[in-house]
């Protein structure tokens, strides 16, 4: 029952969001197999601060990228690259 700080809507309840998993930086589509393998299967995960994607499905419809301390659930929000849907 987290409160997730959506940069567009403010702090909202977890169940408004779909979880997008650890935030992955995509390589170029043409990047080689080894590079894609690293990005998809071996992302750098901090043991404490996890960067994640969330989709605010029942809100603004935007994907957001957050950093969550997985021990305390303290959130930080990144500046969003997206232009938003709304």
């Amino acid at each position: 029952m987290l409160l997730i700080p959506c940069p567009h809507c403010g702090e909202r309840d977890e169940n408004e969001f779909d979880y997008g998993g650890p935030a992955i930086d995509f390589p170029e589509l043409s990047a080689n197999t080894a590079e894609w393998h690293r990005a998809v299967h071996l992302p750098d995960l901090d043991e404490c601060n996890l960067e994640e994607f969330w989709f605010h499905a029942a809100g603004c419809g935007c994907w957001i990228k957050t950093q969550r301390n997985i021990k305390t659930h303290e959130f930080q929000v990144f500046e969003q690259p997206n232009r938003g849907q709304s």
């Binding site: 029952m1 409160l3 779909d18 170029e28 589509l29 299967h41 989709f55 994907w63 690259p81 997206n82």
Partner: protein, 973 residues
Amino acid sequence: MQTRRLEHGGNIDRQLPLYFTFNGQRLQGYYGDTLAAALLANNISLVARSIKFHRPRGIMSAGLEESNALVTCLDSNGVLVPNLKATEVQLELDLVARSQNCWPRVDFDMAAFLQLGSALLSAGFYYKTFMWPKNWWHHCYEKIIRRAAGQGHASTKADLKTYDSRRRQCELLIIGSGPTGLAAALAAVENNISVIIAEQDHQLGGSSIWEQTDNESTSSDTWRKQALAVIEENPKITVMTNCLVFGQYDHGAVMAVERNARPVDSISWRIRAKRILLATGATEKPLIFSDNDRPGIMLAASVRQYIYRYAVKPGKHAMLAIKDTTERKLTRKALLHAGIEIAGELQDGEHISGTQGRSRLRKVNIIDSNGNIKNVNCDLLCVSAGWSPNAQLLGQLGVKLDYDSDHQSLMPLQQMGLQLCAGAARGLGQFSDCIQDGKQQALNAIAQLQSNQLQSSQSHHELAKISDSPSKLTLHQGQGPAFVDHQNDVLRFDLELAVREGYEHVELVKRYTTLGMGTDQGKTSWVNAIAELERITERSASEIGHTSFRPPYSPISIGALIGAEVGQHMAPTRQTPFHRVFTQFGCVFQTSGNWSYSRYFPLADETMEQAIQREAHAVRNQVGCIDMSTLGKVDVKGTDALEFLSRIYCNNIEQIEPGRLRYVLMLREDGILWDDGTVAQLSVDHFLVTMTTANSSSVWRWMNRLLQMHWPDLDVQITLVSDHWASLAIAGPNARTLLQKLNPNFAIDQESFPFASVREGLLDSKFDGEFVSKVPCRIFSVSFSGELSYEINVPANYAHWLFETVMERGEANGITAYGLETLDLLRIEKGHLSVGTEMDGRTTPMDLGLRKMVSTKKSFIGSSLLQRPALDESSRPQLIGLTPSDGKTAIPVAAMLCNQPWQQGVIQVSQGILTASIFSPGLKQPIALALLKNGQQRHNERLWAVSPITQQSTEVTVGPSCFYDPKGERVHD
């Protein structure tokens, strides 16, 4: 007769007598009673039998900590509810309750009579005893033990109560409404913040309802009434009674269940607060001595509560064994008030060596410091070893509570995160201290809210003072069993045994002895157990620690957690725009995901099989129509739209032209096939893409993620238009003739409207030479059935018109509505893919024989990882078709492909699995699709389709996956 009811006083309504039934006996209580209070008023001391030893048990406390008096009640719907504490059941008219864990009666229990329990059942008894012979466990022991085990019996009937789940939020949530909670609320009133008070009792006040202050000048009753008057008037305070907060979660969320709610029976509340004040009070600790479980041995404060709150005399002759002097004084006063004779008091240096009495306490044996034994005749023994704060909710967040040796209790920090602790919940005892602390902590919380700061205080109970430091628990030796956990019959001996056998860690002690695992969650036993372990292991209590506290704090009904989402309401039901007209047409629906989807359309008294054969025959030979509205549809616009689609689909679609469409495949990043669909180009920078019903929301989410997070530089706008269109496919040799009858305002001959095209226009712009109506439409010439087919899309509110018109004008062409069952037969005949069967999250396009559709000229999502060599190995399962070698035997569903037929006891290595098996109406023989290792190179090989479940096997011949019109000529016609 309420022989034990006092003439005056009490917080009960004597004008409202309530009749109820206990163990078949008709009894009377008053409105405001709990079941326990009413039983005591009727002089019933024996209420239950204990779980292991079947010892007679009475009422020990007056609250949620009760571990003895468990009863089964009959709810208003006639459903039995087991394991309710008599102390938490509000008395209501015609309540039916009975004792549990006894047969035939609570006062004559066969198991107790036969001494079936006895000392045999020490900790670990089952583990040690039922080990050999090994296979006896399954055949013999388990069955016998299961029958004897367990507390109460759950009803096998459906729960007919009504539930709901709701939400609330506030700035300050106060849990508990005793003096601390009320004082905190009063402080909050003055600061104009929104407050919720959650109280598990049916009225506010907690101990101030009944406790008499030792200071005569301030009556707790007067104080409470003044406080309530202020609180009830204030609109910023929401009072929730009958509302048990049972769980504490992250970011200020708590879960609570409101019982006896309106208009449903129970409501589960999810409350989100900025600060949470635990004013949850404390639980009195019992004493551990021989035979400390007899009916009539009660916690001292509970005795006072029965006297003052319920005007009940729990006994006639009382003995006191209370450590704290203030509490001793209060109890003495209460007993005198009720006219109960004080038969004796346990003095310093004395201890109890045992008790006597069967269904009621008769005698207490005392040993004084010189070793002399004396007996005290009494029917009530008031015990107290001090108090332990109710800080379990704080502990649920994973915070370990510290053991305080002065209090001999677990003590919380004053504040953890958003939670503050106040009053007795952090070790304060006095009424005036609690009021002062409640106010102080509320002001702390408010100051934090106003400055928007989190103060993380490390201080412990600096206010905490106890009137008289209690002496260390002394060991009372005696002959009888000394219970630490009454509910689970855990003895002091069991703790010693557990430690002796190496289960020293507190979590292991719990699991080995079951201490604290009952419905009371060890509220009265855990703190005592820690002191016992301290003595046994000679380690300090802080080293011993405590077990994890987890929700729920006290048992709650699971129905309340589910709320109203049961049966049909478990998930929303989605209906397509054709639903109503299909219903009129006699359609049989089936649930597919959230969708209610047309399954088949029976005529008169047709069976499903007959209907399907007729429908399939019509599609193959004349024309049929089917609802395709559940497919996901996304409108894609922008100068980079084609670039975007080219990146997410693996096909070569760069050469697409306006008016044409392509069948496309979407891969995951790891190269595995995820979804299929079509891309139709409507104009230069405008596309409509479709995806499978099952994946439509996840593909939509994925497209959004790519555009927003990964490729924000692309000029693409996407819109989900799945629900905007009603989509009806007409398929069969007569499809074009029928489409012409719908009067499209564009040419539809083979040359002008070839296969794999899209047209936008109007239907019925002219009819009988005259203008009738104009229906905007998009028509796609695509085929899932393998026949000439048009998918007609009209705005959703034209669905009714479209279906009726198609059925009416197609009558001469043999139009037949068909459903999901027939659709599946037709696609299996064609070897077309379906999500979840062939596209099972493990297969690549190559596995499914779609290598040609994977572009080698461009990069797309999944292209890199698809090149991993193991994904293109010939030993991978590949899609093939199967026919029975004899041409007629049915192929078992969900079979494995093996070299030999099924044989009892023979284990074969599976070479492949079936994904579909049907009787083909077109080929008039059974056919199947399968994923077979290296299957594409094994055509004409003979194998056995083996089903170990049905013990059937059929010899099959491997062949191509497309059984019908392999060249695909029929779609062009």
